[in-house]
């Protein structure tokens, strides 16, 4: 029975990450493109906080790798950025859980900034590119979206008793 619940939980987690990936690739008007939050990372970070026993750096790496394939970037750029960002959440999940949602979203803003800097830094190995502060807008919108991502996923987790 216990094994069955585990399988079901994994399945639900997989579905949430998959829908986040779809959201991240969905075409939007070019003006909004700059502000698109990093949905897959937000979802992975939520699961890292809520169920660190199920979602570990392996899952973060796989999600990042899926991003790599979709973006057509050099393999590993997103994978390693996802991994490093999620390590911070995984190693401090008990502390972060005790924060209020708004405090969490501040922390998420910092983590997202780190993520974007990492992506930039790794991409820089392979192409001549320049950093402009506009690249950090998704960190802000992501932090603003965090409370809703958090509440939605918590509701899902409780409704379907994902554990």
């Amino acid at each position: 029975m216990g094994d069955n619940t585990g399988l079901r939980s994994n399945w639900y987690i997989f579905l949430t990450i998959l829908s986040a990936l779809v959201l991240s690739m969905m075409p939007v008007p070019i003006q909004l493109e700059l502000f698109r939050p990093d949905w897959p990372l937000l979802v992975v970070l939520y699961w890292c906080l809520a169920l660190p026993n199920r979602v570990n750096i392996g899952v973060a790496w796989l999600t990042g790798f899926a991003m790599d394939i979709m973006m057509g970037s050099v393999f590993g750029v997103y994978a390693i950025s996802f991994t490093i960002t999620s390590v911070f959440c995984l190693s401090n999940y008990q502390t972060i859980r005790n924060f209020s949602v708004w405090q969490q979203s501040l922390l998420i803003a910092v983590l997202l900034c780190l993520y974007h800097l990492l992506v930039f830094w790794f991409s820089r190995f392979f192409a001549t590119i320049h950093f402009i502060p506009n690249y950090l807008w998704p960190a802000m919108t992501g932090a603003l979206c965090w409370p809703w991502v958090f509440w939605l996923l918590r509701k899902l987790r409780r409704q379907f008793s994902i554990q």
Partner: protein, 263 residues
């Protein structure tokens, strides 16, 4: 990362992985497809008739040009035969639709709905109705990434239409700008000059429009002048693209050259 970047071994893996992930791309594209089909259904009869009339007129004009084209082609063939130069091959093409735009900021790519099932190949030239768009990256089974000419890792051999001067246009990472490097100060080049593909690298066929010169910086303190151009293809609003096939010989030759390079 380094393994992927500096070696070719991941190409096959990439085909499989792209194929695995392509359902996500199709899912992401679905809402837009739905909206478009609904928009098509609720179009009024008048607007459709208007559009139809416009298209008819357009086709008439095009047909008139095509008649001349047939004549010119014939003439060109004869002249080439007289000059004993190799005849130009008719190339095949295929329409592809843009499914997604890559969200990677540091790389300009779009995803099209064609893959190895349609016999597309890596490095295949892609154009739209106005000019050159870019080339295909490693194809998946049903989806393939297109590297745009503005990507900072892309370079394309071109010729200035007016003077025939050869140059190489490099992407700048800026969607409305490409850059010509190593243009001597004395070169006859003006703002507004059209750039067309020279066909020299065997990858892009000859004669397709690439860009229009927008800015020339002639700083005598530097060895070369810097020339910027605007791509003529509307790279930020691509929808339908054409994939080109050179004649069979050309592809064989291209492959051979690549093998020689790798070997």
């Amino acid at each position: 990362m380094a393994f992927d970047h500096f070696t070719d071994t991941s190409a096959i893996v990439r085909t499989y992985l792209t194929s695995i992930i392509s359902p996500v791309l199709y899912l992401a594209d679905a809402p837009q497809e739905a909206i478009e089909s609904v928009a098509l259904r609720i179009k009024t009869k008048e607007s459709l008739m208007e559009e139809n009339a416009l298209l008819r007129q357009f086709q008439l004009e095009q047909n008139e040009k095509l008649q001349q084209f047939a004549l010119l082609q014939q003439e060109n063939k004869k002249l080439r035969a007289l000059l004993n130069s190799s005849p130009r091959h008719q190339s095949k093409s295929m329409v592809a639709e843009v499914m997604a735009v890559s969200k990677d900021r540091f790389s300009h790519q779009v995803v099209v709905n064609r893959g190895t099932l349609d016999k597309v190949y890596e490095g295949q030239p892609v154009i739209d109705d106005l000019g050159v768009v870019g080339q295909l990256l490693t194809p998946g089974t049903t989806t393939t990434h297109v590297l745009l000419i503005t990507d900072s890792t892309q370079a394309i051999p071109i010729r200035i239409e007016r003077t025939g001067v050869r140059a190489i246009a490099e992407g700048t990472g800026n969607i409305d700008r490409i850059k010509l490097n190593h243009i001597p100060h004395s070169t006859d080049i003006r703002v507004g000059d059209r750039l067309i593909t020279s066909g020299l690298a065997q990858r892009f066929p000859e004669g397709y429009p690439v860009g229009v010169v927008t800015k020339i910086i002639r700083d005598e303190g530097r060895q070369f002048s810097t020339v910027f151009a605007r791509p003529v293809a509307q790279l930020d609003r691509l929808k339908y693209l054409l994939l080109l096939w050179g004649a069979v010989d050309d592809i064989g030759e291209a492959v051979q050259i690549e093998e020689e390079e790798n070997g």
